[in-house]
Symmetry: C2
Subunit: 200 residues, 2 copies
């Protein structure tokens, strides 16, 4: 990349490059896009960036992102309050909600156990989940964590913590991804499909 001698332009490129997936060339194209746009459009983008920081908080019940505490889902009287779907991050709530199949509540852990990155169970919202289960008459906890090593380790830890609560603990089914081809299935996918085979 050529040296930028306009200070504010250099700074904007640098800032854009901090965003995920933005390299030097994209950052340059974005910066020149802002330069060409009317000031009002640039101001809208700047304001939108500040708004998410200023308006969004974590729901004090489920820890999902929200503009009002408790969040829309926790406040919804139509929700089944005895089932809690535990997920790793707010994006997962969006994904599950998009199916229209979930009638229960959520609990967002804000990550997974990752010892190498210094993330222990105490950094997640597990205490608050245990508290909810004890206090709120929960019948079922669905551990909808990612089917990965870290997700499974986290699920195991939660299972141990809820062991004496008498709550039913489940997890989403694992097996062949619908629409995929056996030929290209991973060993893990095949293993879960074979062990978990069900009558037709």
């Amino acid at each position: 990349m050529q040296k930028e001698h306009i200070e504010s332009l250099a700074r904007l490129k640098e800032q854009f490059q901090k965003l995920p997936g933005v390299g030097p060339r994209s950052a340059e194209r974005m910066a020149f896009h802002i330069l060409r746009e009317p000031r009002s459009s640039a101001a809208q983008l700047a304001q939108a960036i500040l708004d998410v920081k200023d308006k969004i908080v974590h729901c004090s019940t489920c820890h999902n992102l929200t503009e009002s505490d408790p969040c829309e889902i926790c406040r919804d009287p139509g929700r089944e309050r005895s089932v809690i779907w535990v997920v790793e991050q707010p994006q997962d709530v969006l994904m599950l909600e998009s199916t229209g199949l979930i009638r229960g509540l959520y609990h967002v852990l804000m990550g997974h156990v990752a010892p190498l990155e210094g993330v222990g169970p105490e950094h997640l919202t597990i205490d608050s989940l245990v508290e909810r289960v004890r206090a709120c008459g929960v019948r079922e906890v669905v551990l909808a964590l990612n089917p990965t090593l870290e997700g499974d380790a986290t699920a195991l830890h939660i299972q141990e913590r809820l062991d004496d609560s008498g709550v039913r603990i489940t997890r989403p089914a694992r097996g062949l991804a619908v629409g995929s081809q056996l030929e290209y299935a991973s060993l893990g996918m095949l293993e879960s499909a074979i062990r978990g085979r069900t009558p037709m």
Copy 2:
């Protein structure tokens, strides 16, 4: 994409999607990145966006982007004032400057003639170029426009406008791109290389 029920987050995704090369998934990743960052980082990005709009103007001499008018290059006493390199856009100045080979001044047209998009010569800074050539003792004008149909049409128009000024009009050499392979050369590249062949 799933529906976003947090208004400020939805608005930020929408704003990010207006940037060039940013689709719905990237916009979502960027928005969640902002959410995770400390507020001070988000504020820096927002400020950088506003700064380029508030601090950058066009140089009244060469029309390049600058934070001070006239720009750094036009002000530089070490520059050869009798040669003007004419380019389409500010990015091209950066690119030429990065070679370290240019000792003259620049003139940024702010586009090229594009009748289908409603851009005529009167929308470019051609009048101002003609004025500079007449007033400032310019010996040579290098038309460093893109080697495209639009660039060539624009160059031809400028050549006609400068016809009676007696200034020397040149353009950068065209031919085989250094490092490329003949096998993959375009017809246009080959044609300019063959017609413009030079003694070894």
